[in-house]
Symmetry: C2
Subunit: 246 residues, 2 copies
Amino acid sequence: MTEHTARFFGLGLGPGDPDYMTVRARKVLESADRLVHFCKRGRRGNARTIADAVVGQSPEREIALVYPVTTEIPADHPEYAAALNPFYEEAASRLLAEVEAGRTVAVLCEGDPFFYGSFMHLWWRLKDKVPTEVVPAVSGMSGAWTRAGAPITWGDDVLTVLPGTLSEAELTRRLSGTDAAVVMKLGRNLPKVRAAISAAGLLERAIYVERATMAQEKIVPLPDLPEDFDAPYFSLIIVPGQGRRV
Amino acid sequence: MTEHTARFFGLGLGPGDPDYMTVRARKVLESADRLVHFCKRGRRGNARTIADAVVGQSPEREIALVYPVTTEIPADHPEYAAALNPFYEEAASRLLAEVEAGRTVAVLCEGDPFFYGSFMHLWWRLKDKVPTEVVPAVSGMSGAWTRAGAPITWGDDVLTVLPGTLSEAELTRRLSGTDAAVVMKLGRNLPKVRAAISAAGLLERAIYVERATMAQEKIVPLPDLPEDFDAPYFSLIIVPGQGRRV
């Protein structure tokens, strides 16, 4: 079913534990000529770190795409798009040149590439220009509910996935109307998200999960998390459903 | 990170393509003493079929759990629980006896075990009695949006996952208020789901996906699907989000 002629890959690596990579992801990781990852200035990207278990240091294969901004500018601010648009344009041109030079190029993705992935901004620029294959992966949220021992949906439960960037009122409204929830993109949004979860009456069921399936994994019932807790951007909160058990 | 001492496994096998199994799932599949799968009477289960690429016929390892009812009785009818409860109770006892006899037991799951999985009904009966490991997997919906070439969530999109078993009014209300959606459990619910998607103004964006990543994969824009189309229970409809592209 997979397209073995692809030259450009969106390579989902899963939530963190290298054993949770797919067989297909491992194969592409081992064979691609160029391994691309996104990162903050001065830091290694999470996706590249996940790949360490399979590929060692190989400087000639590596392409690091350094975000010009990350969370310093709100994503709905005009300056955000003004900074990110040329970044993705240039990155797409660079990867296109690699493919046109005869090399296979794999963009490493934490979690699943088509679920809030930065890769998508390269994908829509290149998909009609080069043979492309997207390798799906275990999502970060699946790693979280699995490690928390918390089945997320039972029976006819409705699941709502929300970015923590929404307003408190919007978060509260949507959390009040769902059976199960996942709140992504916490970081500095954590106090607002916690307030919304409390207002929706879900605090007792909520679980904070950080770096699920990785060595530094942290899983804490939300009511037990300190008020001043400093959550990374790639942490999330799950609210498991309580649907039909038979 | 994985618990190598587990005796009872919820083994997510992913959406169908055996290359989309995780490395961990392959290992457990190769080594478990008993391979358990759910099925309808007279049929092989989908999860067992996915495993064919890794494990051949080995009758002494196989345990088939045959559902007493599937979609003949609505899940909210009292007779449904009356039939399913003793089924899960007996299955749990049988698997517990296998573990107590010194064998490792893996329950094969299509998709991700903790996302609407039948396995969950065995898990909560056995998790405090035997060392348990749940292996997360690529979800069926991820296989669907990947193969459809349709990134599901961009920027701050809200994703709602809905079972097609909800009422048309409820489906319409929830679809009208979300950025992106996945409707699961179609089967005989397809006409109702289609009406709700139309009422919510989402028909043009909706994509019908059946057996994503498998040989018999079918991907059709929903407006092009015949009115009398006979959808299997394990098909779904995706409505990709249209959030921020930079």
